[in-house]
Amino acid sequence: MINPNPIVQMRNVSKGFGKIQALDKLDLDIKRGEIVGLLGANGAGKSTLLRHIIGLYLADQGQCITFETDAAKLSPKELGRIGYVHQEGELLEWMTTKQLIRYVSAYYNTWNHDLEDKYIADFDISLKDRVGSLSPGQRQKLAILLAIGFEPELLILDEPASTLDPIARSQFLDLLLQIIQDENRTIIISSHILSDVEKIIDHTLIMREGKILRDSSFDSLREEFLKVTLTSINGKLSAKLPFENIINCEREDCQAVFTVQNISQQDLEAKAQALNCKIEIRPLSLEEIYRIIVS
């Protein structure tokens, strides 16, 4: 029985393209109000997964439910609650920016014209230019506006910042931080710029070869992996350190820097005290966590 609460549910979803298994028996729940970071190398299956959610792809096997409807049968009513930014930004080239915004906004009763005006001003979008002559960064900014302008409940961002310059990226992050103030809004963001993603997400999905390696809250991931710097107060460190679950370790005579998994801060501090060592503990960045999980 499928739980009606999650906004997206996938059960045993598989999708193949010839010999490539893009999604492999995937189970997934995305709850309302979550900001999900979808991470993975190129070809891990991220875009395929996102396209299943909006029904552009049909699963070979399994079921994908979005807004309590089979994704393949999503009607304009449900699709009107979904904003989708695609990494290649398919737009109507011959229109001017203004014409394209007017064309897309005509489809939505919920179009927020104040947000549109603010976005155009903040992101310095030229309304007179033809879409086909915009730079990749400008196109992406426009694609983002078209996806958020009607204030969708579910916002799917597939590599949204890949072509943005650093300033536009930072503005985009600020915008996302504003958007996520609405507790009912769910955002799924797939990106390779993990330093940006970690500022906004509260849930992490890490994929490899069509499988989900990790599906957990970002907070629990940050608690799970800790970076420890252990410095001996008197003399050298002992040859064998009494810590379990060490993932990697670099050491000198008086200092060791290592990463541990599933050990509480209290345990670490207690053991450091027993060794007569100074200890510094910090959570890992998303990029460091990602590297560990994927490797």
Binding site: F17, I20, A22, S47, T48, R51, I54, G55, L56, Y57, L58, A72, K73, L74, S75, P76, K77, L79, G80, I82, Y84, H86, E88, E90, L91, L92, E93, W94, M95, T96, Q99, R102, Y103, V104, A106, Y107, Y108, N109, K128, D129, R130, G132, S133, L146
Partner: protein, 472 residues
């Protein structure tokens, strides 16, 4: 391995060139047959047939060095800047030489005249080869260059160009040799310029089979649009009136309704066309009228090509079924808006063709009879019986386009095969003793069948297939 040799390997390493090789091999075989006929039956013009072959070869071969010089990595690659010239000479001269040997079989020439004819032929073939190469380097869109060939082929017979060239080769060898020498010298300096690599590095160009590469075509179109906008920002834009008309209807329709999607689909497809000014339409007419006159003066069934071209042209038309989510259209909405678009296009094209056919009927009485080199050419109106052909062919080519959406090359090949079959059929049907008579009932049945198949395929793809045009 030398750099030149590595570049020559492209001739067989590029898969698309396998087709090119096959095509040229087959045409060369035909030319050899024409030359044999010229020898045995004393037919004029056969010996100059390689001229067109060399021109075509030039346009194809030139795309290979262009492919290399436009790639930024080759700009800094040691020894690469002179390669286009070496490559072009290495291919063009031996081919011209081989064809020029055919003049050894030219009848009624003594030894000296034969040698002079061979040298003259060699020069002439290289001239046409370099012309083909230059056209490709000059125009960024290879397809535009290729579009000239049907006109050259069709124009050969009335203007007797092949006989004229053959005479020039045999009767005036010295001027032809001098001209050839000059052209080759110019080619040597033109393709050896210092700024050659800088001029072409990183430029966007369309090559042999790029017309069917959607991604590259889209990039090319974008680059052209950006250029056009710099020169004339107001050209090819949707007018405020047209925008207001469609956008107000989309807004007023119920959200997510079929009506909304159909208005949107029509706006996307016809917005630009409806926005054109009177002078744009006049310019279009000025372009189409000479072609129409040329076709109507052409003897035989060649003019029927005009009924088949629309079908071929819509092969790459986007019906909006395969697209990402820009607006909130579900699968059902995509099906209906695509169907509306196909029917509207079919009706529009058919109406245009009917109007053109009527225009030719009106012109028939006033257009004079032309006499070119002793041949009389009368203006013959387009055959009204063929006017349903576009409406019959459009759903068939659209169906092929839908099924093989991810294989544009195959789509185009199949559409061309269909084109050939129908073209041949249209010529046979004109013959007086052709046994099959096509009546209105047959036409209606064929129309119904072609549209029924299209609707069935469109429905299947819209409702039961993956609908993304990018990625895997």
């Amino acid at each position: 391995m030398s750099i030149l040799w590595a570049n020559l390997k492209h001739l067989y390493q590029k898969r698309s060139f396998w087709f090119v090789g096959l095509f040229f091999g087959a045409v060369a075989f035909g030319i050899a047959a024409a030359i044999t006929q010229a020898v045995t039956r004393n037919k004029q013009g056969g010996f100059s047939a390689p001229v067109l072959w060399m021109l075509l070869v030039g346009t194809f071969i030139a795309t290979l060095p262009i492919d290399v010089v436009t790639k930024p990595f080759s700009y800094c690659l040691p020894g690469h800047r002179n390669i286009p010239r070496k490559f072009l000479f290495f291919v063009g001269l031996p081919l011209s030489f081989l064809w020029s040997l055919s003049f050894f079989f030219f009848p009624d020439l003594n030894f000296v005249k034969t040698v002079l004819a061979c040298l003259s032929a060699f020069s002439t073939f290289t001239i046409f080869y370099w012309l083909g190469v230059w056209l490709v380097f000059r125009f960024r869109n290879w397809v535009v260059v290729f579009a000239l060939f049907p006109l050259l082929l069709l124009g050969d017979k009335p203007l007797n160009m092949s006989v004229f060239i053959e005479h020039a080769i045999v009767e005036s060898p010295l001027p032809m040799i001098l001209l050839g020498g000059l052209v080759n010298f110019l080619a040597l300096s033109y393709w050896g310029r210092d700024d050659m690599a800088r001029r072409y590095c990183g430029t966007m160009r369309l090559e042999v089979f790029d017309a069917w590469n959607r991604e590259k075509m889209s990039k090319f179109r974008r680059a052209k649009l950006a250029e056009k906008d710099k020169k004339k920002p107001t050209s090819m834009r949707i007018s405020d009136g047209v925008e207001g008309f469609f956008v107000s209807r989309i807004s007023r329709a119920e959200t997510g309704s079929l009506q909304q999607n159909i208005w949107g689909s029509l706006y996307k497809s016809f917005g630009i066309m409806l926005s054109q000014q009177r002078q744009d339409w006049m310019r279009f007419l000025m372009l189409i009228l000479p072609i129409l006159c040329f076709l109507c003066y052409m003897p035989g069934g060649g003019k029927n090509i005009i009924f088949l071209m629309p079908g071929l042209m819509v092969t790459q038309m986007s019906l909006g079924v395969y697209s990402n989510l820009l607006i909130c259209d579900g699968r059902r909405q995509r099906f209906w808006s695509a169907l509306t678009l196909a029917v509207t296009t079919g009706i529009f094209v058919t109406v245009v063709i009917v109007l053109l056919a009527i225009a030719t009927y009106l012109m028939e009485s006033i257009m004079p009879q032309l006499t070119v080199k002793g041949h009389d050419f009368a203006f013959k109106a387009l055959n009204m019986n063929f006017t349903p052909v576009p409406f019959l062919m459009i759903p068939v080519t659209l169906t092929i386009g839908l099924i093989f959406y991810k294989k544009p090359m195959l789509t185009m090949l199949l559409a061309m095969v269909l084109f050939q079959i129908l073209f041949t059929f249209s010529i046979f049907i004109n013959l007086k003793n052709w046994p099959v008579q096509i009546g209105p009932v047959h036409i209606i049945i064929m129309l119904l069948c072609s549209w029924a198949v299209f609707v069935a395929v469109l429905r299947h793809i819209s409702m039961r297939c993956c609908l993304v045009n990018q990625g895997r």
